[in-house]
C-alpha cells in the first residue's frame, strides 16, 4: 500500500519508541521525562494503527486501542503533572535526582 | 484408643495456659496437663500391648486416616508402632519434667519480666509438635509437625535464654529451617515419584513403603531427606546449632531441645529417609557411617575441651547422637533397634543432665566448671543426680546408655563387611573419651573442695526438682536394668523397616 513496506513504518515507530526510552533514561527534569513517555505511547499508537491498517483491516481493534491509549495518556499526564507540581511544592525542584530520599 | 488425644491434650493444655492468671495457675495447669499426658502415654502403651497381645499384627495400630487436602492427596494420617510409642513415652517424660524444672521460672526475660504464661505455652506447644511428628504417617503431617516445633524453640531461647541467646536462637532456627527446607525437597521429590496405580501421587508413608520408588529417584532425594533430618539430629557437620542452642536455652528448653528435638531428626532419618528409600540407604550407607563416626569421636574430643557445663553436654549430645545415625547407617535390625534405644536413652539422659545443670546454674549463677566445685557437699541430691546423668552418659551398665550403645555395636556385627566393624570399633573408642570428659566434669564441678564459700549456703533441690530428676532417673534405670521391654517394643517396628531394606537388591 502506497509502496511503503510495513517495516519502514515500523522503523519509525520503533525508533520513536527508543528515542522516548532514551529520553526517559537521560532527562533529569520530571516534565521532560513525562514527555519521553508521551513519545513512547505515540510510537505504540503508530504501531497499532499501522498493524490494523496493513495487516488486520477487518476489525478496528488497533484504532480503538489507539484511541484509548490517547485518552489514558491524557489522564496519566494529568495525574503525573499534579504529582509533579505537588513534588515541586515539597522539594522546590522538579529534578528527579533531587527526590532520592527513598533508597537502598 | 483414639490417638488424636495425644495431640489434643497438650494442645488444650497449652491453650488453657493462655487463659490462666498468675504463675501459680499457669504452672498448675501445665503440670496437670503434662501429667495427664504422661499417664495417657502409659495408657497408650498398655493399650498397645493389649492390642498386640490380642493378635493385631498390623504394622501400625490405632490408625486414623482422614483426607485433609484431598486434591493434593494429603491426608491426616496417624498411627503408632513400637518406635513411635517409645518416642511418645520419651516426649511425655520430658515435657512433664520440663514443666517441673521450670516450676519457679527463674529465667527472666531481658526486660526483667517473667512472662510465665508465654513460657509454659510455648513449652507445651513444642510438645504438640513433637507428639504430632512421632505419630504422623503422612509425610505432609510429619513435615507440618516438624516445622511446628522450630519456632517455639526460637522464642524460648531468645526470650528466656542466657548468654548470647539471640545469636543462638537465630542460628538454631535458621539451621533447623534449613534442614527442614532440605526435607521438604526430599518429600516433594518422593511425592512426585510415587504412583498409587491410578496415576496419582501420595504422601502416605505406608503406601510409599509398599511401592518401589525408582532407584535413581531414591539416590537423588535420599540425601535431601537424610541431611535435612540430620540437621535436626546433629549430623556432622551440620551440628553447630547444637552447642550454641543448648547452652543459651533456658533449662526446660535445653531439655526439650536435646531430649526431643534432636530425636525428631533421628526419627525422621529412620522413618522417612531409610524406610522409604531403602536402596539409597544402602547406597549411601558408608557415607552415613563415616560421618557419624566422625561425629561420635570428634564430638567427644571437642567436648573434652569445653569448660561450660552446657557446652559439655551439648557437644556430648553431638557425640551421642552420632550413635543414632550410626545405628541407622549400619542398616541391620539390631542396629536400628539400637538407634531407637539410643534416641530414647539419650533423650532421658541428656534431659536429666540439663535439668541438673539448670538447677546448679539457678543456685550458683555460673556454668563455668572452674567456678564450681564441691557441690556434692551442699547439694547432695542435685549432685548425685548429676553424677548419675554423667554415668549414664559414659555408658555405664545399669543405665540406658549402655544398653543402647551395645545394641548398636552388636548390630554392626550382623553386617559381614569388615568396614562396618572397623567403623564400629572406631565408634567404640569414644567410650574412653566420654569417660574422660564426664569424669573431668564431675571431678571439677561436683567433687573436690567447695570452690566458693558462699556456696555453702545453697539449698538442695526442691520437691519439684526432685520429682523431675527422679522421674528421669526412673526412666533411665528402667531401660538400663530391664531393657527387654523396650527391645520388644521397638523390635517389630525396626523389623518393618528392615523388611523394606532387606528387599533391596544391593547396589554398590
Amino acid at each position: 500500500m502506497n509502496g511503503i513496506p510495513i517495516s519502514h513504518i515500523l522503523f519509525v515507530s520503533t525508533a520513536l519508541f527508543f528515542i522516548g526510552i532514551y529520553g526517559m533514561f537521560t532527562r533529569r527534569n520530571l516534565i521532560t521525562m513525562l514527555m519521553a513517555i508521551e513519545l513512547m505511547l505515540n510510537s505504540v499508537n503508530i504501531n497499532f494503527v499501522v498493524f490494523n491498517k496493513y495487516l488486520w483491516p477487518g476489525k478496528l481493534d488497533g484504532v480503538f486501542f489507539t484511541i484509548f491509549i490517547i485518552t489514558i495518556a491524557a489522564a496519566e499526564a494529568a495525574v503525573a503533572i499534579a504529582i509533579i507540581i505537588n513534588l515541586y511544592r515539597n522539594h522546590q525542584s522538579i529534578d528527579v535526582e533531587d527526590a532520592v530520599e527513598l533508597k537502598h | 484408643m483414639n490417638l488424636n488425644l495425644i495431640i489434643i491434650i497438650p494442645l488444650l493444655t497449652s491453650i488453657a495456659v493462655l487463659f490462666c492468671k498468675g504463675l501459680k495457675q499457669v504452672r498448675m495447669i501445665s503440670l496437670i496437663g503434662a501429667a495427664i499426658q504422661l499417664i495417657l502415654s502409659f495408657v497408650l502403651l498398655y493399650a498397645y500391648w493389649q492390642e498386640r497381645a490380642a493378635g493385631n499384627t498390623s504394622t501400625f495400630i490405632f490408625e486414623y486416616n482422614v483426607a485433609w487436602y484431598a486434591p493434593l492427596h494429603i491426608n491426616y494420617h496417624i498411627g503408632i508402632d513400637g518406635i513411635s510409642m517409645a518416642m511418645i513415652l520419651l516426649t511425655s517424660f520430658i515435657v512433664l519434667t520440663g514443666v517441673l524444672v521450670s516450676w519457679k521460672m527463674p529465667a527472666r526475660t531481658s526486660g526483667g519480666e517473667m512472662l510465665s504464661k508465654e513460657f509454659f505455652f510455648l513449652l507445651l506447644f513444642l510438645g504438640v509438635g513433637a507428639y504430632g511428628f512421632f505419630i504422623s504417617l503422612d509425610l505432609f503431617t510429619l513435615f507440618f509437625f516438624l516445622e511446628l516445633a522450630v519456632i517455639p524453640k526460637f522464642l524460648l531461647i531468645g526470650i528466656w535464654g542466657s548468654g548470647k541467646k539471640e545469636y543462638s536462637a537465630m542460628k538454631l532456627a535458621l539451621m533447623l529451617m534449613g534442614g527442614s527446607a532440605l526435607v521438604f525437597v526430599g518429600l516433594a521429590g518422593l511425592f512426585f515419584n510415587t504412583n498409587t496405580g491410578d496415576g496419582t501421587h501420595t504422601f502416605d508413608i505406608l503406601q510409599i513403603a509398599q511401592m518401589h520408588i525408582p532407584v535413581e529417584v531414591q539416590k537423588l532425594f535420599f540425601p535431601f531427606a537424610f541431611i535435612g533430618f540430620g540437621v535436626f539430629g546433629a549430623l556432622f557437620p551440620f551440628h553447630t546449632w547444637v552447642p550454641d542452642g543448648h547452652s543459651s536455652a533456658p533449662t526446660a528448653a535445653s531439655m526439650f531441645l536435646a531430649g526431643i528435638s534432636m530425636k525428631l531428626g533421628g526419627y525422621g532419618c529412620l522413618r522417612v529417609a531409610t524406610f522409604l528409600m531403602p536402596d539409597a540407604a544402602h547406597y549411601y550407607s558408608w557415607i552415613i557411617i563415616v560421618v557419624s563416626c566422625i561425629a561420635i569421636l570428634y564430638g567427644a574430643f571437642a567436648t573434652m575441651m569445653q569448660t561450660d557445663l552446657k557446652y559439655i553436654n551439648a557437644y556430648s549430645s553431638v557425640s551421642h547422637c552420632g550413635f543414632v545415625l550410626l545405628g541407622i547407617g549400619i542398616l541391620t535390625q539390631t542396629a536400628l533397634v539400637g538407634a531407637v534405644m539410643q534416641m530414647v536413652s539419650h533423650g532421658l539422659m541428656t534431659a536429666l543432665f540439663f535439668a541438673c545443670i539448670g538447677m546448679i546454674y539457678d543456685r550458683t549463677h555460673t556454668r563455668q566448671m572452674s567456678e564450681l566445685g564441691g557441690l556434692l557437699k551442699v547439694m547432695p541430691f542435685i549432685s548425685t543426680t548429676f553424677v548419675i546423668a554423667g554415668l549414664c552418659s559414659l555408658g555405664l551398665p545399669g543405665f540406658s546408655g549402655f544398653v543402647a550403645e551395645v545394641t548398636v555395636f552388636m548390630g554392626s556385627w550382623e553386617q559381614t563387611d569388615v568396614f562396618y566393624k572397623i567403623a564400629t570399633i572406631v565408634a567404640c573408642a569414644s567410650i574412653v573419651v566420654t569417660a574422660v570428659y564426664i569424669l573431668r566434669t564431675i571431678g571439677k564441678a561436683i567433687l573436690g573442695p567447695l570452690e566458693k564459700n558462699q556456696y555453702s549456703l545453697l539449698k538442695d533441690a526442691g520437691w519439684h526438682e526432685k520429682w523431675a530428676a527422679s522421674l528421669l532417673i526412673i526412666g533411665i534405670v528402667a531401660i538400663g536394668v530391664v531393657p527387654f521391654w523396650l527391645n520388644h517394643l521397638i523390635g517389630p517396628g525396626a523389623e518393618t523397616i528392615m523388611s523394606n531394606i532387606k528387599n533391596v537388591t544391593i547396589i554398590k
Binding site: 526510552i21 526517559m24 533514561f25 537521560t26 533529569r28 521525562m33 528527579v96 532520592v100 530520599e101 527513598l102 533508597k103 537502598h104 | 542460628k171 535458621l174 556432622f236 557437620p237 553447630t240 546449632w241 550454641d244 570428634y298 574430643f301 571437642a302 573434652m304 575441651m305 569445653q306 539390631t334 564441691g374 556434692l376 557437699k377 554415668l391 559414659l394 555405664l396 551398665p397 545399669g398 549402655f402 544398653v403 545394641t407 555395636f409 552388636m410 548390630g411 556385627w413 550382623e414 566393624k421 570399633i425 567404640c428 573408642a429 567410650i431 574412653v432 569417660a435 569424669l439 571431678g443 561436683i446 567433687l447 573436690g448 573442695p449 567447695l450 530391664v482 531393657p483 527387654f484 527391645n487
Partner: protein
C-alpha cells in the same frame, strides 16, 4: 536345696542393701546402716559357703570332673537370634571359689569398717557403695555370658571409682578415682572390642557355647577365627589380646598399673577389699575363665606370661622404694597379681601342664586372705597414726599387739615362709614357671626375694625402728576392727593346707599338687635373705637405707619415681591427646565448621550490602534496569534457553 532356690540371693542381697542404703540410708539408717550391711553380707557369705559345700562336696562332680552348672539364667537383651545378653549364674570351681573369697573378704571388710568408718558423715553411703561393689563383683564372678561379665566389670569399675573418691573433698582422691576409672576404661574398651570380635566369630555371647565353639577345632567358628587375620595377626590372637588388655587394666598389669597406687586414696578397708583381694584379680579371673580358649593360642598366652612377669618384678622393685605404706602394699599387690598372671600364662589345658592354672588360682585364693589382712592392718595403723607415711611410724608393736602379730603373719605368708599359705601357693607358681620357662622362673625367684625384703621393710618400719610415743589413750581400735584381723590371720595360716588341686584344675579333674621339698629350698632361701636384709636395714633406726639408696643412684631414683611411667602417661594425655586431638577438634569446630555456617550468614549480609546500589532511589536507574532486564531476559529465552 537346689541352687536356684537361693543362689540368686547371694547377689541380690547386696544389691538390695545398696538400693536400701543408697536411697534411704541417710534418713532412715543413719546409725544402723553398718549393721545392715554386715548382716546382708553375712547371709551372703553363709550362702556362698553353703554353695561351695554343695558344689565341691555334694553335687558338683560328674564322672570325677567338676561340671559347669547354670542354675539361673534369663535373657536380658536379645539381639539377633542366637546372640543375646543373658543374666545368669554359672557355678564352676573358680566361680564358686571366687564367690567364697569375695563374700568372705567383703564380710571382713564390712565388719572392719564398722569401727574404721565410725563417725563418718557419709557412713551409710559408704556401706551402700560397699554393697554395690560386692554385688557387682559377685555378678562378675558368676557371669554366664561374656557380656554379663562386661556389665559387672563396668559396675565394679564404677564402684571402685565411687569408693576411691569417697573422700570427695580431697582433690587427690578425686584425681585418683578419675585416673583409675579412665585407665581401666581404656582397658575396658579393648575388652569390649575383644568381646565383640569373639562374639562375632563365635556367633554367641554365652560363655560355655563360646568356649565350646572356639576350642572345637572342627567347628566352623574355630576355623574362621583362626584363619581370618587382621594386620597379619590371627583374629583369635587379636581378640584374646584385647580381652587380656581388659583384664590387665583391671588387674593393674604393666603398663596399665598406674592407677592402682593412686587408688590408695580411698578408705583403707576399701583398698583391702577392692584393690587387694577382689577386683584387681578380676583380670586373672577373666583369663582363667577363658583359659580353654587362651590355651589354644600360644601367642596370647605368651603375652599374658610376659606381662605378668614384667609386672611382678617391676612392682617389686618399686615397692622397695616407696614410703607410703599403702602404696607399698599396692605395688606388692601388683607384683603378686603378676605372679598369678604368668602362672596362667605358662599353663596349658589339662593334666600336669595345667599346674600353672591351679597354682594361679591357689595364689589368688591365699593372696586374697593375706593381702586383705595386710591392708586391714595398715588401716588399723593409719587409723591410729592418721598418716600413711612410713616415716611417721615406728615402734607401734607396743600400742597395737594384735595388729602387730597379724601383720607379721601376713608378711610371713606373702614372703613365702613355710608353712603359711603364701608359701604353698607361691611354691606351685614357681614350680609351674620352672617347668615351662626358666627365665620366668628366675624373675619370679628374684621377685620373691624382693617381696620378702619390702614386706619386712614395711613391717620393721611400722612396728620396730624408731620408737614413737603416742598418747596413752591411743589404742588399737574397736573389737569390730580386731575381729577381721584375727579371722583373716587364721585363714592365712591355714589356707595353704587346702588340697587345692582337688578342687580347681584347668580341666576340672583332680590334680595332685606336687610338693617337692628340694625345690622349695631356693625360694625360701631367697625369702629369708630378703627378711634378713630388711631386718638389718630397718629394725633399728639407722642410715643404712640412705646409704644403700645413694649407692644405687639412678636405679633407686628411677624406682622411687616409679620408672617415670606416670610422667609418660601425663605426656601422652596432656600433650598428645589434649593438645593434638582435643584442642584441634574444638578449634576446628569453632572456627571451621561453625565458621562456615557463620560465614554463610556473614556472606549473605555482605552481598546484601554490596547490591544495595541497585536501589539507588533514582527512577531513571530503575527504568534502565527495567529495560535492560527485558532485553537480557528476551535474549536469554529467545536464543539461549529454549
Amino acid at each position: 536345696m537346689n541352687y536356684s532356690e537361693y543362689i540368686s540371693l547371694i547377689l541380690l542381697l547386696p544389691l538390695a542393701g545398696f538400693v536400701l542404703l543408697g536411697l534411704f540410708g541417710k534418713k532412715l539408717f543413719k546409725q544402723s546402716s553398718g549393721m545392715i550391711g554386715v548382716l546382708v553380707l553375712l547371709i551372703s557369705t553363709v550362702l556362698s559357703l553353703y554353695t561351695a559345700y554343695q558344689y565341691f562336696f555334694v553335687n558338683g562332680k560328674l564322672n570325677d570332673v567338676y561340671q559347669t552348672i547354670i542354675p539361673v539364667k534369663y535373657t536380658w537383651l536379645q539381639f539377633a537370634s542366637g546372640t543375646s545378653i543373658d543374666m545368669g549364674i554359672t557355678l564352676d570351681p573358680i566361680a564358686v571359689m571366687m564367690l567364697v573369697v569375695v563374700t568372705f573378704v567383703s564380710l571382713m571388710v564390712h565388719i572392719f569398717s564398722l569401727g574404721y568408718m565410725k563417725g563418718e558423715k557419709r557412713f551409710s553411703t559408704y556401706y551402700s557403695f560397699l554393697s554395690l561393689f560386692t554385688f557387682s563383683m559377685l555378678g562378675l564372678v558368676v557371669a554366664s555370658n561374656i557380656f554379663q561379665i562386661y556389665i559387672f566389670w563396668e559396675l565394679v569399675g564404677i564402684s571402685s571409682y565411687l569408693l576411691i573418691g569417697f573422700y570427695f573433698d580431697r582433690p587427690s582422691a578425686v584425681a585418683a578415682s578419675k585416673k583409675a576409672f579412665i585407665i581401666t576404661r581404656f582397658a575396658d574398651l579393648c575388652f569390649l572390642i575383644g568381646i565383640l570380635i569373639l562374639a562375632f566369630e563365635g556367633g554367641t555371647l554365652d560363655f560355655n557355647t563360646l568356649i565350646h565353639r572356639l576350642t572345637d577345632t572342627q567347628s566352623s567358628q574355630y576355623i574362621s577365627i583362626t584363619t581370618a587375620s587382621f594386620l597379619g595377626v590371627s583374629v583369635l590372637t587379636w581378640a584374646l589380646t584385647l580381652v587380656f588388655i581388659g583384664g590387665a587394666g583391671k588387674s593393674a598389669m604393666f603398663p596399665l598399673h598406674v592407677w592402682l597406687p593412686d587408688a590408695m586414696e580411698g578408705p583403707t578397708p576399701v583398698s583391702a577389699l577392692i584393690h587387694a583381694a577382689t577386683m584387681v584379680v578380676a583380670g586373672v579371673y577373666l583369663v582363667a575363665r577363658l583359659f580353654p580358649v587362651f590355651s589354644i593360642n600360644e601367642a596370647s598366652l605368651y603375652i599374658v606370661t610376659w606381662i605378668g612377669a614384667i609386672s611382678a618384678i617391676l612392682a617389686a622393685i618399686v615397692a622397695c622404694t616407696q614410703t607410703d605404706i599403702k602404696r607399698v602394699l599396692a605395688y606388692s599387690t601388683m607384683s603378686q597379681i603378676g605372679y598369678m598372671m604368668f602362672a596362667l600364662g605358662v599353663a596349658h589345658l589339662g593334666g600336669e601342664s595345667g599346674l600353672g592354672y591351679t597354682a594361679s588360682m591357689f595364689h589368688l585364693f591365699t593372696h586374697a586372705f593375706f593381702k586383705s589382712l595386710l591392708f586391714l592392718c595398715a588401716g588399723a595403723v593409719i587409723h591410729l597414726i592418721h598418716s600413711n607415711e612410713m616415716n611417721d611410724m615406728g615402734g607401734l608393736r607396743k600400742y597395737m599387739p594384735v595388729t602387730h602379730i597379724t601383720f607379721l603373719v601376713a608378711c610371713l605368708a606373702i614372703a613365702g615362709v613355710p608353712p603359711l599359705s603364701g608359701f604353698f601357693s607361691k611354691e606351685e607358681v614357681l614350680l609351674a614357671a620352672f617347668h615351662s620357662n626358666k627365665l620366668i622362673y628366675g624373675i619370679a625367684l628374684f621377685t620373691s626375694g624382693l617381696t620378702a625384703f619390702y614386706m619386712f621393710r614395711l613391717y620393721f618400719s611400722i612396728f620396730w625402728n624408731k620408737s614413737k610415743s603416742l598418747d596413752t589413750h591411743a589404742h588399737e581400735g574397736t573389737f569390730s576392727m580386731k575381729l577381721p584381723l584375727i579371722v583373716l590371720s587364721i585363714c592365712t595360716l591355714l589356707a595353704g593346707f587346702i588340697p587345692f588341686g582337688n578342687f580347681i584344675s584347668s580341666d576340672g579333674k583332680n590334680l595332685e599338687l606336687p610338693f617337692l621339698l628340694n625345690f622349695s629350698i631356693a625360694p625360701v632361701l631367697f625369702a629369708l635373705t630378703g627378711i634378713v636384709v630388711a631386718m638389718r636395714m630397718y629394725k633399728k633406726e639407722n642410715n643404712l637405707p640412705h646409704r644403700v639408696a645413694a649407692s644405687l643412684g639412678g636405679l633407686y631414683k628411677a624406682a622411687y619415681r616409679k620408672f617415670y611411667i606416670d610422667e609418660i602417661y601425663l605426656f601422652i594425655t596432656k600433650k598428645i591427646i589434649f593438645n593434638l586431638i582435643g584442642r584441634p577438634a574444638a578449634w576446628i569446630d569453632k572456627n571451621i565448621v561453625d565458621g562456615t555456617m557463620n560465614g554463610i550468614a556473614y556472606g549473605t549480609g555482605k552481598v546484601s550490602h554490596w547490591i544495595k546500589g541497585i536501589q539507588s532511589g533514582k527512577v531513571q536507574g530503575y527504568a534502565l534496569y527495567f529495560f535492560s532486564g527485558i532485553i537480557v531476559l528476551a535474549i536469554l529465552v529467545i536464543y539461549f534457553w529454549k
